[in-house]
Symmetry: C2
């Protein structure tokens, strides 16, 4: 992004600036309708000087590296501290999450989920991104989907692999 130089971080995003950079790790997934599985994950957060962080995530299978999930979007931070995540997923879901940042991390819940007509139904998602020790991030996600009530789905531990900024 050479055109952009190195803009200063927008002060509104300071509460979530610890997310900036790249993270890698492994996780485990389960849900009543699927077989439990383990996966590798990469998260990337960057900024362009505006009051949001850009975000891209992907996961792949531990055994053969085949791509599993991906998602991308933007984390907006409002002056009062409201965090809004705008998220797109290739499974056909687009979501607006709302939440807040604390010293420990960010907690987010879907305010709205819409889906492509060919996508599976997901009615609620809760996400937690927590700072866990030195350079570690703990991610958990629960969802209500395909007729199942809100149920734990994913947990991953990631380590920072590239510096913020």
């Amino acid at each position: 992004m050479a055109q952009e130089g190195e803009p200063a971080l927008h002060p509104d995003v300071a509460p979530i600036a610890w997310l900036l950079g790249s993270w890698r790790g492994e996780g485990a997934g389960s849900f009543p309708t699927i077989q439990s599985f383990r996966y590798a994950e990469e998260l990337r957060f960057w900024h362009v000087g505006k009051p949001f962080l850009a975000f891209a995530q992907r996961t792949w299978a531990l055994e053969d590296g085949r791509p599993l999930h991906a998602e991308s979007g933007y984390w907006r931070v409002q002056p009062g501290g409201l965090v809004e995540l705008v998220l797109a997923e290739p499974s056909g879901l687009a979501s607006i999450y709302e939440g807040s940042a604390t010293a420990d991390g960010v907690e987010l819940v879907t305010a709205t989920i819409v889906r492509a007509r060919t996508a599976k139904e997901v009615t609620r998602v809760e996400r937690s991104y927590r700072r866990s020790g030195d350079g570690m991030l703990a991610f958990t996600m629960a969802m209500a989907a395909v007729g199942q009530p809100l149920t734990h789905h994913l947990a991953a531990e990631l380590r920072r692999t590239a510096p913020a900024g």
Copy 2:
């Protein structure tokens, strides 16, 4: 994305495979509520062997390179030819578009738009991505937003800068 090797293109995305790669160019924007402007733009499309293309776009000011718009998401292609675009924008919008691919390009219209509570209202968007001559892409976009009826908003001409795949 070294983990992923070089997967074969999923056959369902063949109708939009001409988008793969990177594109750069310039465009012009206008809308009844804003001053007209010109901008530089980059589009990137890539795939991981699944029936969708991943997509990231950004624009910047011609005069000083400051970032303007950005968006990211996924172009899903259904076996019958339905194209679904799942899109996230840092302006606080998440959308599902539907459309179809022809030999000339892809035409898309919003099926659903949702927005963060702090975002401006956009009620309908129509997008066209057309192959225009050798290695060129013509983009146009019209939208209904902030009380204005469907009105032309953006037109850009982009040239392929990196090969497909």
